[in-house]
């Protein structure tokens, strides 16, 4: 049986492809682990109750809330953050479309918006505006009113279909 009365646990995982081994407190959330221990600050901490979506990351290829996942649960997992996904180039077109459409102002929600939008387009290459809004319903933006974000995703979808 793993674990002891000790409230810290040693974990080993990959983050953006790099092997990481750390001892963490069991109560450490994944997003705090990423931000505070690994100093990758592109994943943001907003509500800490799963509502705002700003902490969204990928765990074993699936989107997850970094605030509702404990770091210890990711022992053995492959975690990807906006830093890794952006560096890979896979969302370069989406990032450019966000800039062109003014789809961000303060930028707090943007990393999670990009990850969520990318996942949406992978599942649905030709979404309607309504489908995009539904797909983003778990991600809050308090600046843009969402319209420019929807425009940027529609534009990216059209470009991807034509290339």
């Amino acid at each position: 049986m793993e674990g002891t009365l000790d409230t810290t646990i040693e974990i080993a995982l990959t983050v953006n492809g790099a092997a990481v081994r750390r001892r963490v407190e069991a109560r450490r959330s994944l997003v705090d682990f990423i931000r505070e221990d690994l100093e990758l600050t592109g994943s943001h901490v907003g509500c800490e109750q799963g509502v705002c979506g700003a902490c969204t990351v990928r765990v074993d290829g699936a989107l997850a809330r970094g605030c509702l996942t404990l770091a210890v649960q990711c022992d053995g997992a492959a975690v990807e953050t906006i830093e890794g996904v952006a560096a890979s180039g896979e969302i370069a077109d989406l990032q450019a479309a966000f800039a062109v459409a003014n789809a961000l102002q303060c930028g707090f929600c943007t990393p999670a918006m990009l990850l969520t939008a990318h996942e949406l387009l992978r599942g649905n290459p030709a979404p309607s505006g309504a489908e995009i809004r539904r797909g983003l319903s778990g991600n809050y933006c308090r600046c843009t009113g969402y319209h420019a974000i929807v425009e940027a995703i529609l534009a990216t979808a059209a470009t991807r279909r034509n290339t």
């Binding site: 409230t7 069991a26 109560r27 800490e48 997850a64 605030c67 509702l68 996942t69 649960q73 319903s137």
Partner: protein, 286 residues
């Protein structure tokens, strides 16, 4: 906020999990998907001494069809259920409900067992389980039992689970001939908890509702089966007179709460709207 400190255990077998529950008693909480428990930890509404992480217990995430019905393991992720061809075929009510459960990034981790055992009165899966007359499988050291969904829900966040027990799965009876399902929900925003939701399962014969099970979420302390409305519609076609009578009967079935999201009167109104839509949809096309 951040959680208070706790010990963390990751049992590899159910027996190890039972031992941990014995050892900590009420000071331990089971961690499945964590999509309800972790917010409670973060807000320090829950301050357990230990978490027993059951995510790596083998075999509990299976979705299997057998003659007695469809079994969904407690650790099946909600997104896996949403995408399961077996669920779509054998439990269309659940398949229809799943897109309403939170958002993709929560469904990828949130589990069926967690949703059932959390017993949030506005959650979709408990209402589906009651409407389908499903059975919850529960294990404890050296014993197992099955609890009909209708007897599982005792109050808000309160179930028939006893100390030392772990919910292991949901068994949905095989679809019988003539039965149809319709799940509908109204919320302020897609993915929010329902203001009102309706899990409707009915046997249709010659365009009429031979018998119906109508279970509402968001209108009481548990899933609420609308027995008077069921009686009012049975043997009837959903014409204007039937819908009006069913609506009146439904008013007597429900005593919805008022909260910051909606007044009781609004919930009553929305429940009638969903009932009319469901009865019409269930009988569409004969």
């Amino acid at each position: 906020m951040k959680p208070a400190p706790f010990a963390y255990h990751r049992p590899a077998t159910l027996d190890e999990a039972f031992s941990l529950l014995d050892r900590y008693g009420p000071d331990a909480r089971l961690l499945a998907g964590g999509q309800s428990l972790v917010p409670a930890l973060n807000m320090r509404l829950a301050t357990p001494a230990a978490l027993v992480d059951i995510n790596r217990l083998p075999g509990l995430d299976a979705i299997v069809f057998a003659p007695e019905g469809l079994t969904i393991g407690a650790l099946a992720r909600q997104e896996a259920v949403l995408r399961s061809p077996l669920v779509a075929r054998h439990a269309p009510l659940v398949a229809q409900a799943m897109p309403q459960v939170a958002h993709l990034a929560l469904r990828t981790r949130g589990t069926v067992g967690g949703s059932l055992a959390q017993a949030d009165p506005a959650a979709e899966l408990p209402a589906c389980a009651v409407a389908l007359e499903a059975v919850l499988r529960v294990a404890r050291r050296g014993a197992a039992r099955e609890i009909p969904a209708a007897r599982f829900y005792r109050g808000i966040y309160t179930t028939a689970l006893e100390p030392g027990e772990i919910l292991t799965g949901l068994v949905i009876p095989a679809l019988a001939a003539g039965w149809r399902s319709h799940f509908s929900e109204l919320a302020r925003r897609h993915g929010d908890y329902a203001l009102v939701a309706l899990a409707a399962h009915a046997r249709i014969a010659d365009g009429a509702i031979a018998e119906a099970r109508l279970v509402f979420a968001g209108v009481g302390l548990t899933p609420v089966r609308a027995g008077r409305a069921e009686a009012a519609v049975s043997g009837r076609r959903p014409d204007a007179a039937t819908l009006a009578e069913a609506g009146s009967a439904l008013d007597a079935d429900l005593d919805p709460p008022a909260d910051i999201h909606a007044s009781a009167a609004l919930r009553r109104h929305l429940a009638r709207v969903l009932l009319s839509r469901a009865l019409t949809a269930l009988t569409a096309g004969g």
